[in-house]
């Protein structure tokens, strides 16, 4: 038994789950009460248009045939055409994908980079002022609705102080050219520092808002697992070996303490996606979150199916990565 086998087993377990997900996502369109084609074209669809859409969506075929056709296409990220814009679903998605990833990764980085040291400090200085502040923050942080926090940030830093922009990803006059879709990266690639600064300014408020819940979680879990680890016998051994204090914390303690933190981050990916939908709505961030809200309002089911399937696929993949990371951190899992 080695790490490759472990990953392989995890991977194999994900396949039936993914199939189940695909069935549910496929069924979505069939679970709608009434004729989905009619519903999608409501209120303007003529009977001919409805029939044409039924044909286009393959709704006249037997269910099993429809599913296999859908799955075959879905595996190549072909989710059909958007009913409202007429362009392919995947082109709709890919034009917005980078925006969401950029936002989510920024938020996650804030949560990790700020949260882990805060948790460690709180644990080392248990019952100090900074510890109480961390506990309060970690309790309060998970209770604040992200969309409200976003609005408050806009009120303070955009509307009142005017330091940062209210919404969007970039200013019209920044001279930004899209290369990869990741604006921070693109600005550096085209060598436009002004555009880079502008993109950062646009990113700060949404990223901070989105990071609050994962940050609160990371602080809380890091603190509690660090406290647990610090009381372990092997910490006494490390001190008895004369290892200097800092090294004890960051080499002996933190690696053990990170194991539950990684698990929690894995669990948090799902709510990070949810939070991203809300954050994008607050800040008019042109990502997948605003795409799905628009398509739900437009009853654009192919787009909904595409986004939901892709998001779930990403979540499954991220969880696989977390499992691997987990095995890397904890040798007891590996063997």
């Amino acid at each position: 038994m080695n790490i490759l086998n472990y990953i392989l087993i995890r991977f194999l377990w994900a396949i039936p789950t993914l199939l189940g997900v695909s069935i549910l996502v496929f069924l979505m369109i069939h679970l709608i009460p009434g004729d989905p084609a009619q519903l999608m074209l409501y209120p303007r669809g003529t009977p001919e248009q409805v029939e044409a859409l039924r044909e286009q969506l393959g709704l006249n075929d037997p269910m099993a045939v429809q599913y296999f056709n859908w799955l075959k296409d879905a595996l190549f990220f072909d989710f059909g055409k958007s009913v409202s814009t007429g362009s392919s679903v995947i082109s709709e998605i890919s034009s917005r994908f980078a925006a969401t990833v950029e936002l989510a990764l920024s938020a996650l980085s804030i949560a990790v980079v700020v949260g882990i040291p805060l948790g460690v400090i709180a644990a080392r200085k248990k019952n100090s002022l900074i510890d109480y502040l961390c506990i309060t923050f970690s309790l309060g942080g998970v209770s604040i609705p992200v969309f409200w926090l976003g609005l408050m940030l806009i009120f303070v830093f955009a509307a009142t102080l005017g330091w940062l922009p209210v919404s969007g990803r970039i200013s019209m006059d920044s001279g930004m050219q899209i290369v990869t879709g990741f604006y921070l990266l693109d600005a550096l690639l085209i060598g436009n520092l002004y555009a880079f600064g502008d993109a950062v300014k646009h990113l700060i408020l949404p990223a901070v808002a989105l990071s609050t819940i994962p940050l609160a979680m990371v602080v809380r879990i890091t603190r509690s697992s660090m406290l647990e680890v610090l009381s372990q016998d092997y910490m006494k051994t490390a001190r008895a070996k004369g290892i200097p204090g800092r090294l004890i914390i960051y080499k002996h303690a933190l690696r053990n303490a990170l194991i539950p933190v990684v698990t929690v981050l894995g669990i948090q990916i799902g709510s990070l996606m949810g939070g991203s939908i809300l954050t994008e709505t607050v800040f008019s961030w042109p990502g997948l979150g605003s795409l799905i809200i628009d398509s739900i309002n437009d009853r654009d089911y192919p787009v909904i199916q595409g986004v939901v399937f892709l998001a779930t696929l990403i979540m499954i993949v991220v969880n696989l990565i977390v499992d691997v990371l987990y095995a890397y951190l904890d040798p007891r899992i590996r063997y």
Partner: protein
Amino acid sequence: MSINKTAQAPRSFIGEAFKQFRKNRLAVTSFILVIVIMLLGVLAPLIALEDPVNPSPENRLQPGFWAGNFDHPLGTDELGRDIYSRIVYGAQISLKVGYTVILITAIFGTLFGLISAYYGGMIDLILMRITDIFLSFPPLLLALSVIAILGTGLENAMLAIALIYIPQMARIVRSSVLTVKELPYVEASKSLGAKNSFIIIGHILPNILAPSVVYLTLLLADAILYTSALGFLGIGIDPSTPEWGAMLSKGRDYIILGQWWVTVFPGIMIALTVFAFNLLGDGLREALDPKMDV
């Protein structure tokens, strides 16, 4: 360990838990806060100043007590409705949604969890694969998909939110049952020929109570948060409903103009309510089982 304790001496255990809970000052504070919010909801028709739904355009966007306006202490929104009255009625809605969601979750989660754990084998395998599938969707997307299918409406929103938690609840119940099932006195009771139904009702249900109560309290906080999110997105909940999240949905347009009260007060209520239930859940967890962790 604590499961054992519950089983052997249920009365003193509850007494002990109560004592533990009372010692935790934060938990008691949160309990009082929860009671106050509940009272707000229950007494809404009595303490509200105005109808929460009817617009009165002549009173649009008036500031509240800070501007000396005591007719509308928290100001009015973009349709001239009294924000204080809407908040009070909002408590009713949030709690109604919250309780309905945990009721649905508790019933179905417990049912599936019990079936899965007690019968095991293929049934367990299939049920657990199904929970896996549901758990692999991002929660808010799952709820949005359900609403996209069923259409908008508060009932559909509640169902959609419950669907997020039923699989988790089923898992918690299943794992507690599996633990209890192996305990010596349950084995003994089985070997004495006790009926399955008796074992489930007499031995297993009381033992899964503690973890379930804690989970459901924390879930209530989450459910309120998701309800307000759906309200904010304007999906699933009619914007005219005095739901706290829905009250914020137009907030950005006005906050930029400095009319912050439209947004600030409903948001504080959401945060306060969620915070209170989170604290209550934590307090209960510490009281019922100090070893239980996230």
